[in-house]
Symmetry: C2
Subunit: 414 residues, 2 copies
């Protein structure tokens, strides 16, 4: 008898009809012989409404109280889901984060899971219940309600799958799975049958938007297969799983663009080992999250250092750099606000060369200016003008044949 965790996001439980549809899916899995745990988010716009209620009273509410408020959204969904299952003739029981011992640290609004007491869930599964758990929330050691931040319900679901030893964690969403590129930007993108945790992590951090990175990290660490699939049909979706040898044959699994970036360059800073550390420590202190860093040596004494950040962090970053620029003998600072990043991701890059070259050729043929290049073991990223970003993505997708099923790609055979 297998155990399945099914996670339903806010749009999949937005109203009574959708709640019943999700309940029906859980019952189907149960009737196929599985033990079933559902992890649910808050209904539709509930969270936004609660945030608006909070801001009406306090423009800058305490994170502890905000967590206390928002956690009610998921608690409502799980109790309603249990009622729906009961009405459909099935034994069901709901739990909030506290009730399953979902203990986190005390970092309100972005807490990290420390432990889950799975006994209560397992006992109810053994009793034939479908168990419904509130996603996104936990409690710290003192019993304060915490939330896990963006994508938190995915993290709850995968962590719970780990804790109860589930065979798979299914993430139900409004798309059919993970695509080789965002179909809104590259309509010929194909759905992937499988993708490795590492590739998915790169795509998630680059803003692919389907799943949050932390849940994938959990899955990778504990080898829990994660299946992303549609709540609207029975298609198998995409399996996120451990890397298998045949994945190496696929050069590029997916491509993505990240917009709303800005780039800050520091020209002629001291070329000493501690300079970059000093600058990025200062930025971190200002809560600026730095994406890519590019350093070019000008002379034994001087270097140009540039980095990209979210556009929303730009003002904080400029302020932080102005505070520190004299200390690192920076000769001048420049800012580019119209930057995007186009990336190709694939574990096949580990064993194949020529991927970077193919990507640059594609961008040159599409007359896209490449401002800078950064790479990781399984990713190549190019900074481009924001108004050329969509064109760049299409060029990269075509170059790596991301509009064809993997087995039909000529590049992979090369």
């Amino acid at each position: 008898m297998a155990t399945v965790v099914q996670k339903f996001g806010g749009t999949s439980v937005a109203d009574a009809e959708k709640i019943r549809r999700a309940a029906g899916r859980a019952i189907k899995a149960y009737n196929e012989g599985n033990k079933v745990v559902m992890v649910c988010s808050a209904r539709g716009k509930q969270t936004d409404e609660l945030i608006a209620d909070a801001h009406e009273l306090n423009p800058n509410p305490s994170k502890r109280e905000m967590d206390m408020l928002l956690a009610t959204g998921e608690q409502q969904t799980v109790s309603l889901m249990a009622m729906a299952l009961d009405a459909m003739g099935h034994k069901a029981i709901s739990f909030n984060g506290a009730q399953i011992g979902m203990v986190t640290d005390s970092a309100h609004s972005k807490a990290r899971i420390q432990s889950i007491d799975a006994k209560r869930v397992k006992k109810q599964l053994d009793n034939g219940h479908i168990v419904i758990v509130a996603g996104f929330q936990g409690v710290d050691e003192k019993g304060n309600v915490t939330t896990l931040g963006r994508g938190g319900s995915d993290t709850s679901a995968v962590a719970l799958a780990v804790a109860i030893g589930a065979d798979v964690c299914e993430i139900y969403t409004d798309v059919d799975g993970i695509y080789s590129a965002d179909p809104r930007k590259f309509p010929d993108a194909v759905k992937l049958e499988e993708i490795s945790y590492d590739e998915m992590l790169e795509l998630a951090s680059l803003g692919a938007g389907v799943m949050h990175g932390r849940s994938i990290e959990f899955g990778k660490k504990y080898h829990v297969p994660i299946r992303v699939r549609s709540s609207l049909n029975d298609n198998p979706g995409t399996l996120i799983t451990d890397e298998v040898p045949q994945m190496e044959g696929i050069l590029v699994s997916g491509a993505t663009i990240q917009k709303d970036l800005a780039k800050i360059g520091l020209l002629g800073v001291d070329n000493t080992p501690g300079t970059a550390a000093q600058i990025f420590a200062h930025l971190a202190g200002a809560n600026v999250v730095v994406n890519d860093i590019i350093q070019v040596e000008l002379s034994p004494d001087k270097a140009n250092l540039s980095f990209t950040i979210s556009h929303s962090d730009l003002e904080d970053a400029k302020k932080a750099i102005n505070e520190i620029k004299k200390e690192v003998n920076c000769q001048s600072v420049f800012v580019r606000e119209d930057i995007a990043e186009v990336s190709a991701v694939g574990v096949g890059m580990r064993s194949h060369s020529g991927v970077a070259n193919a990507m640059f050729n594609a961008l040159r043929e599409a007359e896209v200016n490449v401002d800078a290049i950064t790479t990781s073991e399984i990713r190549i990223s190019c900074l481009v003008n924001e108004d050329q970003a969509e064109r760049a993505l299409v060029a990269v997708c075509k170059a790596f044949e991301l509009d064809k099923p993997e087995e039909e790609r000529t590049y992979n055979e090369a």
Copy 2:
């Protein structure tokens, strides 16, 4: 330094403005040198909306899941209240039922408080916080969320006042206090400065509607003064407190009518000791709550037995009586659906005679037919035709001068 518990009902926290007003009241009490605990209900119509959401999915939802759902309403209010207090410059912290160890039995939807772990509340009070606690809810020993049923937030507030040794429990509501009669039915009713727990219990059980009986029982048992006052002004309201000797000088503190009653009569049942017990045990088994019982002996062998019930229990009661009528040799059953009960309540009745007589005279002069009479130590009740109920109330109020301040009543001096 005194400790005050302030309870705010749903109408007193219905929107942002009202939440701020309630917060302002807590701050005022704090600035006057008190430690302050607020107990809050769900906002305005929240509970009704959640019940509608539930019924859309399940016409008969499990009580456990209903409690899980409804408890979110209070949790939302307390976190929002904490945010409002913070915005107004005051340290505040919110707790739900589980977090203050409000442990109840497992009777979902009507749970009874078993214990409260007051340490966490006291610690935060000592730290200078205004502490805000979700009313109406608790957890059972297994951590399941429970609710206390109608008037539950009043009960939470008084129980918490007991647990932390508060000096007073203030119940904020939309009326100025407890009146000698319902001002909608007797506009000249006067506000009472004080009333004893026993009198308030009689008035509560008779449907005076301001406070639920269980909270008054708590206050009586543990001698916690309860002050019922308006959330809209600074009037002192009415103090519900232990009986003091001067209360005995007041013959009748209040009068009330209870409508929507029905009366069932069993004619010629066996006049044996076990018959009534048998009948009422059977009614209790059918979850029918019996108000007043009137038994008249017809002969050594036979008696007439009648009782009143809420109109909403009538069908269940009729069914139960039909099941048992042969066993008790009932000769016939009659039902009156148009019954109301008018009552006068006052601890002074304990030591004064003639109250019943004055009441009957008043009703006779008002041409009200009295169907039956029941009494307790501090209460006289008459069953009357429902369409004469308002007239009966006015007559009783005038007879006992409930339109005058207590010290001006001539009757009391007699």
